[in-house]
């Protein structure tokens, strides 16, 4: 199915994308003839059952994987034309990731985790510190800056993950089941935070979820099933 909302000024443009994984002698078609556009400033939810291809689509948009066929264009860059090294630099500049299991470095404190993406920039130590302080303040965790992930609750760890995702002020924030490992209260806090980032700071967010409660917080929800877009709506 084609994207029901084609937009020529889209920040993200996915066109005719297919993704096939090879498992032994078997080819697994994860995405098929998929088209999607996401305008700048949108908060989009990708919904679908397990195995529907939503995380794979997120990986393609984030430049973590390459499509078997078709093109993915984000912020004006055709990702399939970029070499691995260019793609890494592109991710550092344009993409913030938020993962379901937070994926923090256990050996680093909250502020050191948030600082990680900034280590790839030419910023000075003082400038990095300033950015980290701002990001932690935005997620309400200034008081936990020197704490290690193991001493923090799941909700707090996810907020550190979001701070890490936004600290470089990326073009696009990609969230893969950001509330999937949290209880309802902590999940709501995270969704409220994402909502605020979108509404108050104009951040473009694409969130993968299978939770209708989470997708209800997004401005638009796109449904996938068996690798195809099957429509929009709650």
């Amino acid at each position: 199915m084609s994207d029901p909302n084609p937009n020529p000024a889209a920040l993200v443009r996915v066109e005719g994308v297919e993704k096939i994984f090879h498992r032994g002698s078997e080819d697994v078609h994860v995405l098929a003839e998929l088209n999607l556009t996401v305008p700048a400033g949108e908060f989009l939810a990708l919904m679908g059952p397990s195995g529907s291809g939503k995380s794979t689509l997120l990986n393609l948009i984030g430049g973590l994987d390459r499509p078997t066929k078709g093109t993915v264009t984000v912020a004006g860059d055709r990702l399939d034309t970029l070499a691995d090294r260019q793609l890494a630099a592109w991710r550092a500049r344009h993409i913030g990731f938020v993962f379901q299991l937070y994926n923090l470095m256990p050996v680093l404190t909250a502020e050191q985790n948030v600082e990680l993406p900034l280590l790839l920039t030419p910023l000075t130590k003082a400038e990095r510190r300033k950015h980290v302080t701002t990001a932690l303040a935005m997620v309400g965790l200034s008081h936990r800056a020197n704490h290690y992930p193991r001493t923090m609750s799941g909700g707090e760890q996810q907020r550190v993950g979001i701070a890490r995702g936004i600290v470089t002020d990326p073009t696009l924030l990609l969230c893969d089941e950001p509330t999937g490992d949290l209880d309802r209260k902590a999940g709501d806090e995270i969704l409220t935070l994402l909502d605020a980032l979108n509404r108050q700071h104009g951040k473009t967010i694409i969130m993968v979820t299978h939770d209708p409660h989470a997708s209800a917080r997004a401005a638009r929800t796109v449904h996938l099933d068996k690798g195809r877009l099957i429509g929009e709506g709650p």
Binding site: L64, D65, D84, F97, L101, M105, V107, L108, L120
Partner: protein
């Protein structure tokens, strides 16, 4: 340096494993330090030998004596600048375990021949004025708490089998770090007088040292010396001082080969231990490496992080081991006199540091390549 806390944090992740690996590297490098010191003790004389000095000994064996009158004949050979002789005394001070070399020498010619022995002028003057006087190397003086003015009794199982008593009139130092300051030298005239009185090997000396006018002609001078005494009852063998020292060392075996063999076995084991630690460390955090790549770390940066970790581990362990070896070997000869040149040379210390870095690179390269080749999406699925 801005990635140091990440590298250091990863090393601290499994404290017991890192500590045990560090300990094994440390032990290997302590062993390295000790073996280098032993090698230095055995072959160090070769390096310190003067390029312009030749040793003349009896052709049959060093223990065969040479006539004292050879000295004047050698001095007349073209190219010879100076000649001095020494004789093995082989005495025992208090206990046979207290080994150090003693030799009767002619003070002026001996000190002129060996400028690496530093003796203050007033002590030299006292030595020349005291027939029973002797000078002792700093190392031995400190070892036995000897000082100027002391009398030192030495039992000689070779010469008249009696107790010889000497007056310590000087303590000499070495001009270089490796100079042997364990010996005792006393006056040849005192020695010869006693031998004459007892008719015990008078007029014979152990070996000669020749200083040549031009080191480039040392080979020709050596040949001329041996020709001079050819077909005599005491034929000579003349060789450079370095070769003479090497010959002594070779009596034990090929020291360099033995040391290299032992170190090769030790470092191969360490290679396996550290390599296994690093492989395990990378396997355990494939997901985290995936996160690093997701947020923008390039393959090269991930490779560098893993290599930095393995190098930090080996350089830290190696550095601590080398430092400990330095401290332990700085106490000097552990055998009580058998290895007077026992010390850990700075050259070998630097070699050890280089070796620890190479060890880190070699053990880290395979896990680092594994980390570098990780596909981000696959790695993230393994969190």
């Amino acid at each position: 340096m801005k990635f140091f806390h990440l590298v250091w944090g990863n090393l601290k992740r499994r404290k017991l494993r890192t500590s045990l690996t560090l300990l094994s590297i440390l032990v290997a490098f302590v062993l390295f330090g000790f073996l280098c010191a032993i090698k230095q003790a055995l072959v160090g004389g070769v390096e310190l030998a003067g390029a312009d000095r030749l040793i003349v000994r009896h052709k049959v064996s060093i223990i065969q004596l040479l006539p004292e009158n050879y000295q004047a004949r050698m001095a007349r050979i073209p190219g010879v600048a100076a000649v001095a002789h020494q004789t093995w005394f082989g005495g025992v001070y208090q206990d046979p375990k207290n080994f150090f070399m003693q030799c009767p020498v002619v003070p002026e010619e001996f000190m002129a021949m060996f400028p690496e022995f530093l003796l203050p002028p007033d002590q030299m003057k006292a030595w020349l004025a005291t027939r029973t006087g002797c000078i002792v190397g700093r190392n031995t003086a400190e070892r036995f708490h000897l000082k100027i003015g002391d009398k030192i009794p030495i039992v000689s199982p070779i010469w008249m089998q009696k107790t010889w008593e000497f007056d310590i009139v000087g303590i000499f130092d070495g001009a270089k770090k490796g100079t042997d300051t364990t010996s005792l030298f006393f006056r040849y005239d005192y020695f010869e007088e006693a031998r004459k009185a007892q008719n015990w090997g008078s007029g014979q000396v152990g070996w000669y040292t020749i200083r040549v006018q031009n080191p480039a002609q040392a080979g020709a001078v050596a040949q001329a010396v041996d020709q001079e005494f050819e077909n005599s009852p005491a034929e000579t063998k003349t060789e450079p001082e370095g070769a003479f020292a090497q010959g002594f060392a070779n009596q034990i075996g090929n020291i360099a080969l033995i040391v290299t063999g032992i170190l090769g076995a030790v470092f191969f084991t360490i290679l396996l231990v550290t390599g296994s630690t690093m492989s395990q460390a990378v396997r355990e955090r494939i997901g985290e490496l995936g996160v690093l790549k997701a947020i923008g770390f390039t393959n090269g940066q991930v490779l560098g992080l893993v290599l930095a970790e393995s190098c930090l581990l080996t350089v830290l362990g190696g550095g601590l081991g080398l430092g400990l070896a330095w401290v332990l070997t700085s106490r000097g000869d552990p055998t009580g006199g058998m290895l007077p040149l026992f010390f850990f040379p700075v050259r070998d210390l630097l070699l050890g540091l280089g070796l620890s870095l190479v060890l880190g690179l070699v053990t880290g390269i395979l896990p680092a390549q594994q980390a570098m080749r990780l596909k981000v999406a696959e790695a993230l699925r393994r969190m």
